[in-house]
Assembly symmetry: C2
Homo-oligomer: 678 residues x 2
């Protein structure tokens, strides 16, 4: 990576939201021709240059005008539109300003006629920010041609490898890439391509400028071609649910019993995913160890559900005993739910004084969001760019990492992954506040009332990012100042996982308004909950009752109680802190020998390890995927997360012991060596 000298922006769709102006021009010409465009024609015109559009109307509908006259009509309509109606894309101006303040040269390179560019940039108050505005159309050139960008580099007096190009068109990204630029694809819903195409073509792809901090553009990407190819060869979707999924088309490569079992999984349909290219058939578990059908022992470094250990005897006993007595629902009085509710509320901050039970974390988040919306009267929820909060219709729409093809809720907004590693600081409170302010402003612009934020305090699917304890304090203050509420999704960091406090948010000294929890709560028996301020719940409850058949039943509550007893009996919080510190130190020590371990971070028994190209901060998903497959051969089970799918998610059951620690470190050391060699 070298220092960046210049940044080249596309205009339409990137700096400016100008698609409406073009549509208005097309409708204007159509109206004058006395015709109505059908949707297919509108789509076709979208891809046209101005000249092509004029030719279309002239050749088809004539209307007694020459092509030049028609061109003049179209030109006038467009110019008026650029002068009077276009708006800057959110965050574009701030980014340009920030880059300029760092001394970079800025250029605009567009296919539109220069006069439109200047009119539009002037209207958006951005014209002065650019050193150079170039129109490919005016120059008879094309943004599909790398030579156009090579010439532009010359004019900027910068080497192509010291230039970032930012564009919303895949073809322009490709041409810039060929020319040697580092590239950012910024997604524009008006463009024909998908986000995925952009992601594959560009070095970075973002949905909004908010995801593109100025700091990330100060150094370019040197190994352009190499990296892009490696991205293409990797899986195309690095959504949190994909990770190292088995490819069902390769079932024939498996042998014997395993192939039969995997074959039979077809009955489960095409949504399910298996881990590993050679899936595991696990039949027994104990503590942190798992055993497959042929007796091979594995160390589980991944599973956060049986946090008190696989086959925990406290839980088995509690469930068995209660099943022999009664297992009804919450419409009858039962001690188990009351004992548990009271005990759990004691672990929560004052003010969080009500608790309700569900079956899954998804259900808990689904209800939490509705409570927050009822209380605030708003709809707008902010999450991080790689968040995963669950699988219901509502919560899928608030879980960007579920996959690029899943429609997000129109009233949600994302802030970029709080990537402490690449932002270069652990103290990211101010940075997060700035990003949240931008998104709240954007909501306001769209008439969406801000309701709150839904954050996992360790940002698990964003790449396990503990950050500096306390950085969430100004964030929560801001959320409250803006009239929103803070939902702490504790499905991942709760129940002692982070070693510093019973709850993940405890590291930050903040008090959420709603706390959701699940996975480890009953060590694998379906059980989740929403703890909440009474007044927030009442805002929902006044209009809606809620009943959940299995939730809070005596058996689930007995299992959950057993988990709390185990936590106390074995002083798990201390255990996690001690073992977590030792695990972190040991992995950090390995990073000295293995330069692909780019960042090793963690809190308690929850570590994230950023796998990078040695000597850079550049994410290396290919190596990460190889590594976890080799680790499996070395009998360690682990997974990946993060925006680039390159972060080792180290998250063993909390009963993780001394022998587990050294088993893991040896296996990781050996696996890294194996990957590095070959």
């Amino acid at each position: 990576m070298g220092a960046t000298k210049a940044v080249v922006f596309d205009c339409d769709g990137t700096l400016l939201r100008s698609m409406d102006v073009w549509h208005a021009m097309e409708s204007g010409l159509a109206r004058r021709a006395g015709i109505r465009l059908d949707p297919q024609q509108v789509e076709q015109l979208n891809a046209n240059t101005l000249s092509q559009t004029v030719a279309f109307f002239h050749d088809r509908y004539g209307v007694g005008k020459s092509r030049d006259e028609l061109f003049a009509d179209a030109f006038a309509l467009l110019l008026a539109g650029y002068r009077e109606r276009v708006a800057a894309r959110a965050g574009a101006s701030d980014l340009a300003l920030a880059l300029r303040s760092r001394g970079l040269l800025l250029a605009v390179a567009s296919s539109s006629p220069r006069v439109f560019l200047e009119a539009g940039l002037e209207r958006a108050g951005m014209l002065d920010l650019f050193d150079l505005v170039v129109s490919a159309e005016d120059e008879g050139a094309s943004k599909r041609d790398p030579r156009f960008f090579l010439r532009l580099a010359d004019r900027l007096g910068a080497s192509p490898d010291a230039i970032w190009g930012i564009d919303d068109s895949v073809y322009a990204i490709r041409a810039m890439d060929e020319a040697g630029y580092s590239t950012v694809g910024i997604y524009d819903t008006d463009e024909a391509g998908t986000f995925e195409e952009l992601r594959l073509a560009a070095h970075r792809a973002v949905r909004e400028f908010a995801e593109l901090p100025c700091e990330g553009l100060l150094r370019t990407v040197k190994e352009t071609k190499v990296r892009r190819r490696s991205m293409e060869s990797a899986e195309s979707n690095v959504g949190i649910l994909e990770s190292n999924s088995f490819d069902m088309r390769r079932v024939d490569e498996l042998d014997g019993t395993l192939r039969d079992l995997v074959e039979r999984r077809k009955a489960l349909g095409s949504c399910y995913r298996l881990f590993y290219q050679k899936p595991l058939h696990l039949v027994r578990g104990e503590g942190c160890r798992l055993f497959d059908a042929d007796g091979t022992e594995y160390l589980d470094m991944y599973n956060n559900i049986p946090s008190m250990g696989h086959s925990n005897p406290y839980v088995t006993r509690a469930v068995t005993d209660q099943l022999q007595l009664i297992n009804t629902h919450t419409r009858y009085v039962h001690e188990n739910i009351l004992d548990y509710a009271e005990r759990l509320l004691k672990t929560l901050p004052d003010g969080i004084d009500r608790i309700m039970f569900m079956c899954s974390g998804s259900e808990a988040n689904d209800l939490a969001v509705r409570c927050v919306q009822s209380y605030t009267g708003g709809e707008g929820i902010i999450v991080t760019a790689e968040a995963y909060h669950g699988n219901t219709a509502l919560i899928s729409g608030l879980s960007p990492s579920i996959g690029n093809e899943v429609a997000m809720s129109p009233t949600m907004r994302m802030i970029p992954t709080p990537d402490t590693y690449r932002l270069g600081t652990e103290d990211i409170g101010d940075w997060m506040c700035a990003r949240i302010r931008e998104q709240i402003a954007d909501m306001r612009r769209h008439g969406i009332k801000f309701a709150g934020v839904l954050f996992d305090s360790i940002f698990s699917s964003d790449g396990v990012i503990p950050g500096k304890p306390g950085f969430l304090q100004p964030v929560v203050d801001l959320v409250h100042e803006e009239g929103g509420l803070y939902i702490a999704d504790e499905v991942q960091p709760g129940f002692c996982r982070t070693g510093e406090a019973f709850w993940g948010f405890g590291r930050h000294g903040v008090t959420p308004d709603v706390v959701t929890m699940g996975k480890p709560m009953a060590n694998g028996i379906a059980c989740s909950a929403m703890a909440i301020r009474e007044d927030v719940l009442d805002a929902f409850a006044k209009s809606a009752p809620y009943f959940n058949t299995f939730a809070g039943n005596p058996v689930a509550m007995a299992a959950a109680q057993a988990v709390l007893r185990y936590i106390e009996d074995f002083a798990m919080l201390d255990h996690v802190r001690v073992m977590g510190d030792r695990l972190l130190a040991a992995v950090r020590q390995l990073a000295g020998d293995h330069r692909c371990l780019g960042d090793v971070r963690g809190a308690g028994l929850f570590l994230g390890v950023d796998i990078v190209r040695p000597g850079t901060t550049e994410a290396d998903r290919e190596t990460a995927v190889k590594l976890i497959e080799v680790l499996r051969e070395n009998r360690v089970l682990i997974s990946l997360c993060g925006a680039y799918g390159n972060v080792l998610k180290i998250r063993p059951p909390l009963v993780f012991g001394e022998d587990d620690l050294w088993f893991f470190i040896e296996a990781l050391d050996a696996s890294l060596s194996a990957v590095e060699e070959g």
Copy 2:
């Protein structure tokens, strides 16, 4: 009840959607006065008569015109609107036509000037349907005055108790009620009041004409005053989750331990509900029997979750054994999920060839609806007016019986409860088809593409309505012809409940496109599923993966397998058919002695008993509520359902035996006698 002679309709908001015309007039006047109305003023004007509106503009803004000139302006604006823009409310015309064809007299009684009425009805093609059009304004009368309606009865030559009045204003409903009319409140979102107010004021309340079949108006309600008072004294919300809820304000009336326990429930917040005015504290269960803390034994006639009996030993053993081995998730291969999936798919029709697992019926329906929407490209789902399908954000919006204050999805539509009893026939296929066609037409009108229907084949929360086997066949054919899919919600009727087939839809010989299931599936261990056509699932899966932490785990699957084994080992389907027939016959026999048992219907061990005013089909919720409280004293636990909250829902665990049958019949007989006496 007597034969109906005449039906009196309100016009604005009832027959015609004319609110927009009035708004346009107000805006027109405001524009001419050079002012802009603020939202508060708009609201205020809504409640005004035309004269009051004119006075408002004249007195405040003058604009150099006399009041009469302003009136003329307003009048002209309104008349133009009625002539050119009003539309009939959906179904209004069909209902009027149907009533007319039965020989009833029809009248319109409105507060608007007659000239508007005639213009609007003419435009809507309805003017010819009415024998009389009366304007209270023209006559200097008021619809708030019962005497207006008494005079109208005279003019119609009908006794007030032979007249139905249909109106969207609570005040008019009250005046008609005072005059002795039977009343239907039809909800209009433009009216100030809530549906609940309408429901309390009127004998019947509906949201749309589709819920008001012509047959329901052929006989009037005689005991007007009595019934209305009883409605007012009953609980205001008879949503499915309310039924016989304990009133938390009465906690001080309980004694000792029970009061303490109920007090402690405050930690669970205000969404939870307890059954009974003296809640139950159950500590042990076996088969169909439950035992409270002081050892009192109860017969469970309500619980459909532990269908294989409370504390079923097959299930306890299966869960205990599996917990001692392993309990991971679906990303590893495990036999339990495969064995179970294959076994369960064998019970389903060919074509339903994929199955996925969730934790709750709500989650299953949430995913099913999204699959159907992905496959059809539509959004519009049709449910019945009292359906309950679950508690997620998406599914709450498709569950009208959850409560009147919960917002329904804007793209869903309801058909009326298929109330075989009051429709007078079990063979309701054609009736349902007609209702569905109306709703699909309404969707089309609103630009909503029809995606499918979500029906529980025994319509549990609508009042347990088995109907004639096969009546769903034409319904499913129609749904398919219209490009939609049929989701069979088998949470209630599945797993042998109806005695006639393993699945509830099996009674009808139909093949659903998606089948959802839950409650009895694993006898109380959280477990649910969606079985589906492969191509329908693929439409969803191509863009979205799906993972559900606890779902399909080895323990849940072991419990579910134990249920299937129990069903086979004890030939439960035969058992349910035999015991169901005997239970139905025994309850029917009681109906001879107890005339409040209006309709006794059922399939297998799922019976609905309509509690009515003796000699009528009029729902008697008050008696029903009393009855279940007395049954509790007689040690039988049971609940209520149906649109009027008056239907006994008889639904014991399927292990229901001979002794349970006679215990129940004796208790029911005694309880009915007690209620009748007191």
